[in-house]
Symmetry: C2
Subunit: 557 residues, 2 copies
């Protein structure tokens, strides 16, 4: 039995798919939240901007929430905060750069609340109610990330955040082995471990390897160089600038988000911009082609990004020329493969030499591969192992690694979003699930939309829609306006006019039959016309558009 003096861990996101990371830790009526991110939608969620965690549990337990700790400044860890702050107002704890990046998030949201930021110094512990929190620096694809050692009177929980091991990182801040090992020596109850890259064999390569490749490519470029990367990848941006500066090239920046992060990172001292290197994008024509490096957004093939606009020939300032070198210094986020390939193909067609992940070493991941997960497990030596930040397939791979290292299968917890994990000295189990809903954000609309709207959108997009409007005087029992058709998104139909003429005749007959049989309820008539039309259109054209019939008349209000 789990005793009363237990710790509750509730992942509200990040454990049933990659993204919207959010973890609740609850003890003695105190709640701390770790991260609050967004998730990007799948292809089958057309029009959705992003997905956020379901905050119902937080709303219900508002008074218990004592603080939010952010592990690092990526969208999938901080992007949900502006929405969370519509519900609660508690202190935010994060390192300096993470606070800087979070402020950008709030800048772009309406009616931004006054958030109370508390800067973390990873060398100093933090006390929040029953939680004593030590931090350890990690290596990742954004600087200033931390993992947490959370001590409570029933034991210690280690939360890795997102991490990799880099023994010679750009900022010389190696992941803090000693702190992790010390926690392990003192005894750890549970390890919540990043499993994003648990499918990858071996070790993730160091960031500096990318710098070497960039250097080689930059040296052989005879015209302009365009580098696209994630806008928060400050270390990558640092390397691009350093290599450019060494080779006496100038760097111009294209893309709003990357401009913002560069500004913030430079202000806070995380990016050292070499002297006389940056030029405004408006000045690129004043330099020889081979002195120009353009840093841009669009590494994921995003339709509106700077790189894709160049590829489409729609960029205001940059037209791709034969011999331009384009380096896509990123890997595709699953689901974006096709979009990136399209961008690459368009750039090639315009004459650019394009380098990307599968043919050139222009990117390394920010997440621990299998051998690094082993190092983490080894050092922490936890009683319970809980893979986080992954889809089911990643969590299972991480679990298998833990099992192969001797952790008892019954001490490995494969949890889902919403699971209530209870643990004490002797036991760790999932005691229930909050059944969180999927909260879609689209424009200012936000809510669980029960998937009906998405289903409609999918049918609309696959089959199109056909509207039929008829005016009927139901009292006088006569058609006062002939059937009128409006088609949207319906594919080319041979002899459309003939088909619609036939349809009109069928509708007229249907209505006459109704009126003759004294069916004068408009909804009933609409239903009958719809039925007839669905069958008729499928028979004639083998398509199934959404058909909506609306009968109007003087007696309808």
């Amino acid at each position: 039995m789990v005793k009363k003096n237990s710790l509750k861990i509730i992942p509200l996101g990040g454990l049933s798919g990659i993204g919207k990371n959010m973890m609740v830790l609850e003890k003695d009526n105190h709640i701390i939240i770790i991260d609050c991110g967004i998730m990007f939608p799948d292809d089958d969620m057309p029009g959705i901007d992003f997905i956020i965690p379901d905050f119902s549990y937080i709303k219900k337990n508002k008074s218990k929430v004592k603080g939010i700790i952010l592990t690092h400044g990526h969208e999938d860890h901080i992007g949900g905060l502006p929405f969370l702050f519509k519900e609660i107002d508690v202190p935010v704890y994060a390192t300096k750069l993470t606070i800087g990046l979070t402020k950008i998030k709030f800048e772009s949201s309406k009616n931004a609340p006054a958030v109370k930021y508390n800067e973390i110094n990873p060398e100093e512990p933090l006390e929040i109610g029953p939680f004593h929190i030590d931090f350890f620096r990690v290596n990742h694809s954004v600087p200033d990330g931390v993992g947490l050692v959370i001590k409570t009177d029933i034991g210690t929980v280690v939360h890795t955040g997102d991490f990799k091991f880099d023994y010679d990182p750009i900022d010389n801040r190696v992941i803090q082995f000693s702190k992790i090992a010390r926690a392990g020596e003192e005894g750890v109850l549970a390890l919540l471990c990043d499993s994003t890259n648990a499918e990858e064999f071996g070790y993730t390569l160091p960031e500096k390897d990318v710098g070497k490749t960039l250097s080689e490519k930059f040296e052989k470029a005879s015209k302009r160089i365009i580098v696209a990367t994630f806008s928060s990848h400050i270390h990558r941006i640092q390397q691009v600038m350093d290599v450019a500066s060494k080779l006496n090239k100038k760097v111009a920046i294209s893309g709003k988000s990357i401009l913002k992060t560069i500004r913030i990172a430079a202000e806070l001292g995380y990016l050292k911009i070499p002297e006389d290197t940056i030029i405004p994008i408006s000045k690129i024509d004043e330099f020889p082609l081979k002195e120009i490096v353009i840093l841009s957004t669009g590494s994921q093939g995003e339709p509106l990004s700077a790189l894709n606009r160049m590829a489409l020939g729609e960029h205001k300032r940059i037209s791709i020329m034969k011999g331009d070198m384009v380096i896509i210094s990123a890997s595709p986020v699953p689901g974006n493969e096709r979009a990136i390939s399209n961008t690459i193909n368009r750039l090639i067609k315009k004459g650019a030499d394009v380098y990307y992940e599968s043919i050139a070493g222009v990117h390394v991941s920010g997440h621990a591969a299998r051998e690094e997960i082993k190092i983490m497990i080894n050092m922490v030596n936890p009683r319970y192992f809980i893979p986080i930040h992954g889809e089911d397939k990643h969590k299972i791979q991480a679990a298998q690694i833990a099992e192969s290292m001797g952790i008892d299968q019954k001490n490995i917890i494969i949890a889902e979003n919403g699971d209530i994990i209870k643990m004490n000295h002797n036991l760790c189990r999932i005691s229930g699930n909050l059944h969180p809903q999927t909260i879609y954000v689209d424009g200012v609309g936000m809510g669980n939309i029960e998937d009906i709207v998405l289903k409609d959108r999918r049918v609309l997009s696959r089959n199109g829609i056909m509207f039929i409007v008829i005016g009927i005087d139901c009292i006088g029992k006569r058609i006062i306006c002939e059937p009128d058709f409006i088609l949207k998104g319906i594919i080319y139909i041979e002899n459309l006019k003939k088909l619609l003429d036939e349809a009109k005749k069928i509708i007229r007959d249907t209505i006459k039959n109704c009126l003759n049989s004294n069916i004068i309820n408009k909804t009933a008539i609409e239903g009958l016309v719809n039925d007839r039309m669905e069958k008729f259109i499928f028979k004639k054209a083998e398509i199934r558009p959404i058909i909506i019939t609306r009968v109007i008349g003087p007696d309808r209000h």
Copy 2:
């Protein structure tokens, strides 16, 4: 100058993206066609079943077309034939299995024409007008594939079809080196070379390696085994059956397409079904779990496939149980990554142990990697090199390989679909382009739909649609039916009723203003109402649905 006695090569498909492969060779008023395939749609073509080549050039030159040669039986090489045969009726030349697989295509199409099939014996040449064609067997992911050595009086063209080198293939039919080398020795003008895998370093692994992995996995399975693969991958299916038979397991088959190809391949002698191995799927419950192997479709995460139905718990006969082993023996076709991951995650959630490409050696490709492309170029030693079967990025990689091997850059032709490539002894150049259109197939509809319908579908799916119907007596200048709203695919709007009430008022005012100003043209009124509503809805909800206003009344017909 290209002289009159030249050869025209026109790729109608396969050179501007992977799929719908189709090549026209024209000389002395004789045309032969190589392959006629389909292409699968991108995510931004909702509702499209597939894409076929534009046959305009064939229609215009009907009388010149003397035959169609099929290199192998994959969809992207034969799937367009039923559509082509609506335009022409000429002999089809192909190997035995390719003919068998082509017949299946025609079975599923309405009003199938009587196609004249001519079975190719790869050891015998074929004469069609000015073309003397020798065949060489190739290795690929479907048996009985061939490449072509096409001799004409101005020189020889080698068309590789899809190929890889497998020195110990399942059917013992190694790619016919000697024939390729002989053509090379005799002198080749142009090599049309499969470039699908030109991004892959090294060599593609042999098919038998998959057999070894399957054997290891099968041996350690303690419950049922489910293997999903491409339905035309006869050699993979052969290996599954052989391993199952060796271990005294029974094989049941689930999925229409795989059942059909197994039947055809077995009938024609390309698949040797081990005795007492196949059982009907209805009998699987009569055997112990660990004796059961299920071969199924769904390796691409297709929504309606057998494997996805199992993953969703919607398969009629198979419910996934804890400990079932699922092997996805295929690689994701670009664009399908997300769908496959979803299927994998669902299977894992149901308790299956899932093996797939990135974590286990359960698949090898059917296409030549870079080193194999080098072998081909080496043996054929062509004057002109033309990469085929690829996106721009693949063609460029293949071109760079050719250049690195000493082929002069000006003799490497990066062509597009529709390009008219003219060549003679001295010259090879692109003399124009036919500007082929994209022909979408959806239900029985087929045609170039100018992308308008697709654009509508995209907007519909992202933003939804709002219909406004109003009845106005324009002569009597009065509203006879109040504005009525129909919303589809529009995301949750807070206070929808209030918003629509406001909208109604605006519409009423707009109409009154119109009627007062003597604007009684219904189209004009519709336009004004639409404008007002678009602005109003965006202001209130920050969404931009398609808005369609229809004014009807007694005076409109």
